[in-house]
């Protein structure tokens, strides 16, 4: 059964629209406007403003990833324990919200978080102190968690489903109580899911420019914002590409981290 030729259309497409474009980012990143090799665009990350933007992006995406794990793990455990009802919950949590435009959904948090917004009105009604997080890094973290939480839940949930219930029973049988079973068996066995969840949340959070634009006011610049501006406003593609190459180094590190942890190679990740 020779189906080799069937792969040609896709190989051509992948070469033309995935590999070559990526190569061009590298080309632009390592050259100046005249096409001469330079490291300047890469080293530009060291300038104070870029360094600050990268650092802030790393910090915010770190915290949003952490919060996602803390929220998603219990949720995944509950979902994995549910019977048939869980399918409708999964749709409710993952599929349905996507049909409301993601910009509008994120924007709606402005209305919720504003000084006279919905949440503060409720807090005020309950005679509780209001919150003022709109246009702060906290609001950006909230937006990241809001947008990327599903990508943490799904891999963890799948990893938990894969665990043979008898393995849990075996731990109990050998004398472990509920907590010991969780720490010694459930948690380590679900680690591949957690780690691929980390990649799936960390990468988009690190590179976003939309959430910071919508919820951070115009004052807070993340590395994503800097790159976006180089392309759409300053028109310095070489600098933008150079910074993207730096960004990709972080992405590759996080992917390697995730593939190394996924020992069985089954790919709980993508």
């Amino acid at each position: 059964m020779n189906k080799k030729w069937l792969s040609f259309p896709y190989i051509l497409w992948a070469a033309g629209f995935i590999i070559i474009p990526l190569a061009m980012v590298f080309y632009y990143g390592f050259t100046d406007r005249d096409g001469i090799f330079t490291m300047e665009n890469i080293l530009a990350i060291l300038s104070p403003e870029h360094r600050k933007a990268l650092f802030l992006a790393l910090v915010l995406s770190f915290f949003s990833t952490l919060i996602c794990i803390l929220l998603a793990y219990p949720l995944s455990m509950i979902l994995a324990k549910m019977g048939n009802a869980r399918n409708s919950f999964l749709v409710l949590i993952f599929i349905l919200p996507m049909w409301m435009n993601f910009l509008l959904r994120t924007l709606a948090w402005q209305t919720l978080l504003e000084k006279n917004g919905v949440i503060n009105s409720i807090l005020h009604f309950l005679h509780l102190p209001g919150i003022a997080i709109i246009n702060t890094p906290a609001a950006i973290i909230l937006g990241m968690v809001y947008n990327f939480l599903p990508f943490m839940v799904l891999p963890i949930y799948n990893a938990l489903l894969k665990i043979d219930p008898n393995v849990i029973n075996a731990a109990r049988d050998l004398g472990a109580n509920g907590l010991q079973t969780f720490i010694k068996v459930t948690l380590p066995l679900s680690m591949p899911g957690v780690i691929s969840g980390i990649t799936m949340v960390f990468v988009p959070a690190l590179t976003t420019f939309v959430i910071s634009t919508l919820l951070g006011g115009s004052k807070i610049l993340l590395i994503g914002n800097v790159i976006e501006q180089e392309f759409t406003q300053s028109g310095n593609w070489n600098l933008g590409s150079g910074l993207s190459v730096v960004l990709m180094i972080f992405i590759v590190i996080s992917i390697i981290f995730s593939t190394l942890s996924d020992k069985d190679g089954e790919g709980t990740a993508i």
Partner: protein, 267 residues
């Protein structure tokens, strides 16, 4: 007690995920033009929506790109999945790695890389460039949704069809396609949804004259979102909700298959 705790937790998560959506639906009935103030109940935005040509055009562009890109991606992706499934291990691993790039890489990088490509090819930025970009990021979803189905398939069924005298073409349509169809369908739906919801890649590959709903909303952020946008989103959301409820009434195993496919793809 424990069950109550679980239910409360799920309820809180759903509140968290749906609070903005509820907000948007409420805003679509807000008589006041600004988000910040409640000016009483009105249906006028739903009426004016149907006269707002800018929004309607963005909507039709969005839907057209989603449909065309999902269809093309489903076609190319399904064929690619069949080819990948039949490949030797090393080739397959390589092609899968390439396939994973658009999914793992930052969207902003995918966006600018395609932008640089289109510039260097001297293409005019507009419908075509956006469509090509969407097909590119949609194909992996189709491949990853069809492949598991192919892997489950008993390779002998195809050979049995040939053995019984079917031509490869006939065997494909009568034996392979029906078997992998749930995967193909969920791949298509996934691609359609992703295309519809995309902003970042469209942002970098669109021309000045062209707008999808996402890019339209983004440009309106600074000036203030037109209330008709809220009513349109509310309409889309409610339509999908109703469709999903209808689908949930169809036989259960069918639904489970589609959903589990979506899970696999989403991973």
């Amino acid at each position: 007690m424990r069950k109550l705790l679980h239910r409360t937790y799920i309820f809180l998560i759903i509140v968290f995920l749906y609070a903005p959506i509820a907000t948007l639906i409420v805003l679509s009935f807000n008589a006041s033009k600004t988000r910040a103030k409640w000016g009483g109940f009105t249906l006028k935005w739903y009426q004016s929506l149907f006269h707002n040509e800018v929004i309607l055009e963005a909507l039709s562009t969005t839907l057209l790109i989603a449909l065309l890109s999902a269809l093309t991606a489903t076609f190319i992706g399904t064929i690619a999945a069949i080819a990948i499934n039949g490949m030797k291990k090393r080739n397959r691993a390589f092609l899968m790695a390439v396939t994973n790039i658009p999914m793992l890489n930052a969207e902003i990088v995918t966006g600018i890389s395609l932008m640089l490509l289109f510039i260097s090819m001297g293409m005019r930025f507009g419908f075509t460039t956006v469509l090509l970009a969407h097909i590119t990021f949609n194909i992996p979803y189709v491949i990853l949704s069809v492949l598991p189905r192919l892997k489950q398939m008993n390779p002998s069924t195809y050979e049995a069809a040939l053995d019984l005298g079917a031509s490869p073409f006939y065997a494909f349509f009568k034996v392979i396609l029906p078997d992998i169809f749930p995967g193909v369908l969920s791949g298509f739906l996934m691609a359609f949804t992703m295309s519809l919801d995309d902003f970042i890649i469209t942002h970098f590959t669109k021309g000045p004259g062209l707008d999808t709903l996402s890019t339209k909303i983004y440009t309106e952020v600074k000036k203030g979102i037109k209330p008709e946008m809220y009513s349109l989103s509310a309409l889309i959301f409610v339509t999908v909700l109703i469709l999903l409820l209808l689908v949930n009434r169809t036989p259960k195993d069918r639904k489970n298959i589609t959903l589990s496919r979506q899970e696999e793809v989403l991973q």
